[in-house]
């Protein structure tokens, strides 16, 4: 029974998300609901064989906390970068930092790199091919060690707990 269910609806969470986004974008009506339900079934059904199965996120409360912290950091970093842009170029001290990673799985690394790109004057540029280092370009680099430990405890540590890796 559950096998049949799995065949018919291989990715229930994805289906639900597709349906919700479809209804949010198109407005709620019976027609849209039917069409949305059909697409929410069809798309995961067709794409499931191609999906690359990733580590699962657990602990919804921690995910929410992570998200809220990220939003707060984005707002603060925006203000900081805006001020930095308005200062003179000569006072700017850009730099590259190699961040030693302690997580290895693809999806958590993607989330970490995206978080780094979205926050305080940092853009993640490249991973080393052994997945041990993340290279980050920093708009204004004051203290390398401080930046590394900040990223470690603000983002990497919570991500390790969320993905339990």
């Amino acid at each position: 029974m559950s096998k049949v269910f799995h065949k018919l609806l291989p990715m229930p969470v994805h289906s639900l998300m597709l349906l919700v986004v479809w209804l949010l974008l198109n407005g709620f009506s019976v027609g849209q609901l039917v069409l949305g339900l059909f697409l929410a079934w069809l798309i995961p059904f067709l794409t499931f064989p191609f999906a690359d199965h990733q580590s699962k996120a657990g602990k919804p409360f921690k995910v929410l906390m992570y998200f809220l912290r990220l939003v707060k950091d984005i707002i603060l970093s925006n203000i900081e970068v805006a001020l930095r842009v308005l200062y003179r170029n000569r006072s700017l001290q850009p730099g590259i930092v190699a961040f030693p990673l302690s997580i290895r799985a693809d999806f958590p690394l993607t989330v970490l790199a995206s978080s780094v790109s979205l926050t305080p004057g940092t853009v993640s540029v490249e991973f080393s091919d052994d997945r041990c280092w993340l290279y980050i370009h920093v708009l204004h680099l004051k203290d390398e060690q401080q930046l590394i430990s900040e990223i470690r405890q603000r983002y990497e540590q919570p991500l390790r707990e969320i993905f339990s890796c």
């Binding site: 970068v81 853009v123 490249e126 370009h137």
Partner: protein, 118 residues
């Protein structure tokens, strides 16, 4: 009352978008220029979208969700495009400005090697 709120949000949003574009023009090299539009604009666009939510709420009394979906997509795509641009620049060996710290890491970075390797 809601008019003032909407106006304030639009002004803040416009200000941040302006600073982002200014940074794109004035910062010293490609890599630092990457920072201004990916960051300053996320908050700017966020504020404009919030203003849009406030307008619909004040006019129709309903909560519009489109804007939240737009900002979600923006948050997902902005880091990816910044990362691709930075990678392309490294590949093309676009120079960094002279006072960049740890420039010796650039070659390791471009070849995806660990910083302590030869």
């Amino acid at each position: 009352m809601s008019d003032y709120l909407i106006a304030a949000l639009l002004i803040v949003g416009g200000l941040f978008i302006f600073v982002g574009s200014l940074g794109l023009a004035k910062l010293p090299d490609f890599y630092t220029r990457l920072h201004a539009p990916t960051k300053a604009t996320t908050l700017g666009i966020g504020a404009v979208l919030l203003a849009s939510v406030a307008v619909t709420a004040a006019r129709d009394g309903t909560l519009s969700i489109h804007e939240i979906v737009i900002s979600l997509f923006l948050f997902i795509t902005a880091p990816v495009s910044a990362n691709m641009l930075a990678k392309a620049a490294l590949h093309k060996k676009v120079p960094m400005c002279d006072n960049t710290r740890n420039q010796d890491l650039k070659a390791h970075m471009a070849h995806q090697k660990a910083p302590d390797s030869e």
